[in-house]
Structure formats: structure tokens, C-alpha cells
Symmetry: D2
Subunit: 208 residues, 4 copies
């Protein structure tokens, strides 16, 4: 009922139409093949952590979309605690990419970041049109999330050095298919256009 009659919502990042989606990096890597993902994930962290910092400074939203690990309690902290518990294979990755207070969290029950989640209304709320996509695994949750984003007509860039899979072959194949069949842009973090495309409110000539 809280929402009745409100309608309009503030758009916190007024000039920004881009957001960084970080998929399934808060992860215990306990699935079969997780041991093969780990070394790639540690390399991914080296590129993704500084990129996220850079985007936060630029005022762009950083959105973690993460498996709920069968916790159905809408509690991202439980998921974070679960994945950084003693003995969790993915703990160093999760810790290095721990979200900040200004970040957004969406828990998902299945592969796609868009399936039965509030991601679309959140992106509407933020005014997001362009998605920079990163995370684990290139050929599963990143891949299927990118496909749903494509059907929903978002402008998509997948950051090749900010996502990873069990093997280079799986990773490269997924990126190749996203480019060939969906027209998704693929580039490295240092090539991503992270300045906002819409900057309507900055006064011209104001900066001497």
C-alpha cells in the first residue's frame, strides 16, 4: 500500500543512463567445476574491482544480481555471509568484490538476472538504458542475462575481462555467440565508455 498515489520517484543518477551489472560474484563456487572457475575468477577480480570503483566515483549505479542460493529470504547479507564462510571456495572473490553501501542488490532464483526479479523496475527507477555486464559465468548466468537484456532492448556491453567461466574455451565461445547472434558489444574494462551519454544539466561553458 505504501506506493499508492506516489508514482514519481527520484532518479538518483540524473545524468547517467548506464549501470554496471555484476552477476553471481558473491558465490561459494561449490558447484561441479567451481574449482576450475576459481583461478579465472581471481584474475577477473583484478579488473572488475577497480572498474567498479571507477564507476562508483563517476556516479554510475553498481548493481549486484546474485543467485539466492536457495535462501528465499530477500537478504543479501545472508547470501554474502554464506559465500564468505570459512571453507567457501569463492570467499576471496566475494570479499574482494564486497558491495558498498551505495550499491544495489537483486537476488535471483534462476540463471537469468531478469527472471522473476525486480531488476527491470530497478533499471526503470534508475533511468538505465545501457548495461555493462560482468560476472560469473560468461557462458551461463552472464550469457542468459545478456540474452534477456537483448529481448528487452537494452543496449548491452559485456566486459570480456570482467567475466569468467570454467575454461577459456567456454568463455570465448559465449562471447563469440553474443556478438555473432545478438549483436552484443564485447570489450575490455579499459575500453568501456563509462561516461554518461546524457548530460543535459551541466551548464555549458561553466567550467573555466
Amino acid at each position: 500500500m505504501a506506493r499508492a498515489r506516489s508514482g514519481a520517484r527520484p532518479r538518483p543518477f540524473s545524468g547517467a543512463d548506464s549501470a554496471l551489472l555484476i552477476i553471481d560474484v558473491i558465490n561459494d563456487l561449490a558447484f561441479p567445476g567451481g574449482e576450475r572457475v576459481l583461478p579465472w575468477a581471481l584474475r577477473m577480480v583484478e579488473r572488475l574491482a577497480p572498474l567498479a570503483r571507477r564507476l562508483r566515483r563517476a556516479g554510475l549505479p553498481v548493481i549486484y544480481v546474485n543467485d539466492n542460493f536457495n535462501h528465499w529470504r530477500s537478504d543479501f547479507r545472508d547470501v554474502f555471509r554464506h559465500c564468505t564462510r570459512a571453507g567457501s571456495r569463492g570467499s576471496p572473490v566475494a570479499r574482494a568484490l564486497a558491495p558498498r553501501a551505495s550499491d544495489y542488490f537483486v537476488l535471483k532464483p534462476k540463471h537469468s538476472a531478469f527472471f522473476s526479479t525486480s531488476l527491470v523496475p530497478l533499471l526503470e527507477h534508475l533511468g538505465t538504458k545501457r548495461l555493462l555486464m560482468a560476472g560469473i559465468a560468461t557462458n551461463l548466468c552472464v550469457f542468459f542475462s545478456a540474452h534477456d537484456a537483448h529481448m528487452l532492448e537494452y543496449d548491452i556491453t559485456v566486459l570480456s575481462d570482467c567475466c569468467c567461466a570454467e575454461s577459456d574455451a567456454d568463455h570465448d565461445l559465449a562471447l563469440d555467440q553474443l556478438q555473432r547472434f545478438l549483436g552484443v558489444k564485447v570489450c575490455r574494462a579499459d575500453q568501456a565508455r563509462t561516461r554518461s551519454t546524457r548530460r543535459p544539466r551541466r551548464p555549458r561553458g561553466g567550467r573555466a
Copy 2:
């Protein structure tokens, strides 16, 4: 990626095909008209709190589906803290209906409990076919959630003394429409069939 290859999930309440949906009771009642909802909500608590206890003891899932109050951080505890802060009009209602560790939480961004949420996969996970619906407000979030549940072909009972609105007129009208046009069952908490319909594991011949 965590979900890859798992498929099957445990169904924790083996004999139960019912669940209690409690909508928007964790609420600061700060919206226009909230002051008129409060006395009705306090009466509602007297019926809903014991019902929830009874259902928990019977092993039925209790699911809180609650507005995210523009917190987009998948954190039910933040929402609870926000609604029970000093000066929150809805604090006594939220405290009296505070969820237990075994309950489920789903945050929703709009009126309907089903719109851009993981409620359907959660109900699949639990094996739920029958919904007992309660909460605030009868003529908004309960009403529109019941309609979506109807389109999704769940068996629905709205508990008349476990939901409330700004006025008796709004409350009665909404219940009347749900019955007339959607064929939704309406009854009091003490009339609700809260025993499971499927009881496959009770040993035959055990009742002398």
C-alpha cells in the same frame, strides 16, 4: 551459475500445498490515509498474529511479501528497521507481526506481490497451490495480488479479519468484488482450512 545442473530442490513442507501470504504489514503507514488504517491494522494484528503462529506450528510456510519502500537492496531487515524506527506510525503493527527465522520474505517494488518478484518460483519451490491471503490494504495490495494469483490459477482464500483498509467501506467493497468477479473465497481466520489437503505420509490405521 550456482544453480547449474541442480534442478531438483527439496520441498521442505512435504505434506503442505498451502501457504500464508502476509502482504505489506511491515509498513510505516506514512502514506496519505495511513492514520486511518492504523486502528484497523491493530485489530487485524489480533487475528493475524495467532493465525501465523498456528500455521507455523502446523508446518505451513509463512511468506511475507512486502513493499521495498524504495530500498532496492534486497534486504528485508533494512525494511523492517525502517518501519519500526522511532516515530514510525506502523511500528506497533510491524513489531507484533515480526517474522520468525523460518518465514520467507519477498520484497516487491509495486502493488502486486507477483509483479517483478520471485514469488512464483518460491511457491513452486514450496509446492504451494493454495494461498491464504492477509495484510494491508484489502483494496490495494491484497486486492491486486489476489487478482494476479487468480490469473495464475492459484486456489485463493482471502482472510477477511486478517486484512484491513482505510475504512470498512473500502474493505468490504474489495472483498465483495473479489467474491463476485473472481470467485475468490473469503472467510475469517478461524474458518480457514489450515490442515494440509495432501497428507500422504500419515500412517494408515493410526487413528483408533
Copy 3:
């Protein structure tokens, strides 16, 4: 597969961000109470038919969203034939509002025009932001479609003299609730702003 690599689509009504949604007027009115809807529907036709003509001339899309009557064959013509068959109570309404070749048709399986239909992608394709809503019945399919449109953040106007219900009371109550609780605009057909708000391409001063 046809869509692979295409992405961009022509937006046929270049200056228009409005569309007329006509809900369930191709109807046999065979449901209980349909006999009470008929006289109101015949009055509705007198306003809705000329409005639709006016909007077509102005280049605005006219979209029929209609119950599939349990024909699951994606064939609007079958539905039209079914509802205009000899003995169909709703035949005069359906005939008077027969769609034109330039109109769009969406078949829906349930009350809401948005539930399990391609209406959202069609509105994206057309560039529609503002919906003018009309049809049968004010308090059911129009009402629930308006609510879904509200959750999806469309700008909504319900045309009071272009929709109808079983009784004046049902009709008025539904319009009152849409205004009070969802902030939906309600006006008559002759008050509707049917000129496009975006008219970037029409040369100024060109109409002498």
C-alpha cells in the same frame, strides 16, 4: 530465428507517443450479466467508433486487445467470426467496432491486457508511452489492465464514455478507484488530448 541480428525496427507513427487500447469489445457477451452490459455497450459504441476514426486519421495506433475465448490459435479473425456469429449477443457491438487493416490485434488469455501477451513489446515497437483506454468492462478487464499499465509506469487515461460495465454503479466505482488509488486520469472522449505530444517532424507554418 527471423529476428537474429535485426534489433532495430521501424517506428511507424513517428510523432506519436500515444495509442488507443480497445479492450474486449469483440465479445459475444455470453457471460452471466452480459445482457445487462449490452445496452451500455451500444451507447459506448457511439463514442468509441468516432474516436477510433479520429485517432486513425491522426496517425495514432489503434490496438485491439481481446480475450481469446479459449481459441488458442493466435487468430483474431476466428475470434471476430465467433463473436459476430448469428445469435451472438455482442454481434452489433463487434460489427460497429470492427478493426481496420491498419489496426493492431493482441489476444489475451486472462483479464489483463498485459498478462502473457505481446502488448509490451508492441508498445515498445510503436514507441508508445501514453495509453488511452476503452472497452468492456470498466470494472474488470479495463480496470485490471489499467492497474498493470500503472505498475509498468505508462501514462494512462481511461475514457469514461468509451467503456462500460453491467451497471452504472460498477462503472462509476471502478473509475473512482482508478482515480483515487492509482492516480489514473479519467475523461470523456471529446476531452482526450489526441494530438501527439511529440511532433518533431511536422514543419512549422506548413498548413496555410
Copy 4:
């Protein structure tokens, strides 16, 4: 409004929980690469056409889910006519697989058969739990539809000789990924279990 108060629907294929999904075979193959799909599609027809006949005789639903080719008019016949027009590359495939009066048609606006379509309510209406999937192309619309079916927890079998792609490599890779990552069953048409799993009405002892 037609649906108000009806709720229950007949389930026409009483013993069947399976259905055949035929994806995008009514196709003009006018997309880039369509000329490479054609020879594989002609081979596919030789297996798929007799399978569809066999399933129809067994009383199983055959559901065509097909791109709308930017016709937004809910009219499968228009799409069929478009794809079988003089000069359409895909005409021989579409003609050989022309649907019968008892088949179901669902038009889709994007790759996945489940995205913004009425396929889920149709499958509910039919009581379908198991999907046999076929069509064009193995690595695009069949692949992404299978993934959505997986998230929706249907039991899925992809019929390897009843779908095709631009090349054997694309086809084999997609089937391999569906098996490895989603646990989808893959088999030939002659291996598919096409007898219903639920056969409640066949009299016992009837087969001598």
C-alpha cells in the same frame, strides 16, 4: 470480461502431459545465413513431419510457436501466407509442415517462445508438463526457448533430428550446451517417448 467467473477449463487431451513445440518453422529464411539453413531444414522436415503426424494421432497437442515477422496482428494465417509467398526461401519447409486444424499457434515477438507470449497459460490449459522441442534454429530460438523452459521447470527433450541450424557445428554445440549445463535431454524423434505418462483411462487388461 468474457472470462469472468469461468475459472475451470476443459483439458482436451485428458491423458497427456506432453506436447510438441515446433519453433519458427513457418519461416521465410530471409535472414542472413538463411540460405545455409535451408538444406538442413529440408532434412529436418523428413523427420519432423511424420513425428507430428504420429503425435496428433496419439492425441498429443502440437503447438507452433512462431516469430510474428513484425506483423503485430495476432494472425497466424498472415504469417503463413507471408512465409509461403512466391519467392520465399522457406516456402517448401513451411508448406511441408503446415499446421492442421487441431494444432495450436502462438506468435512470439522475440527469440524465446516464452517471452511475452501466452505459451505458459496455454500449457497450463493443456495440462502440459513435458515438452518435446523442435524447429529452427537449434542454437537460437530453440536454444533460448529451452533455457526459459528450464527456468520454468518443465521437463524438456530436444529432438536432435527435428531441429537445425546454419551449420552442423552450431547445431551440435547448442545441443551439447543444453545437455552439459541445463541437463536437457536430447534424443532423435524415433527415440522420443511419445506415449503419455499418465494413462488413467485405459482399461487394464485390455492388451492381450
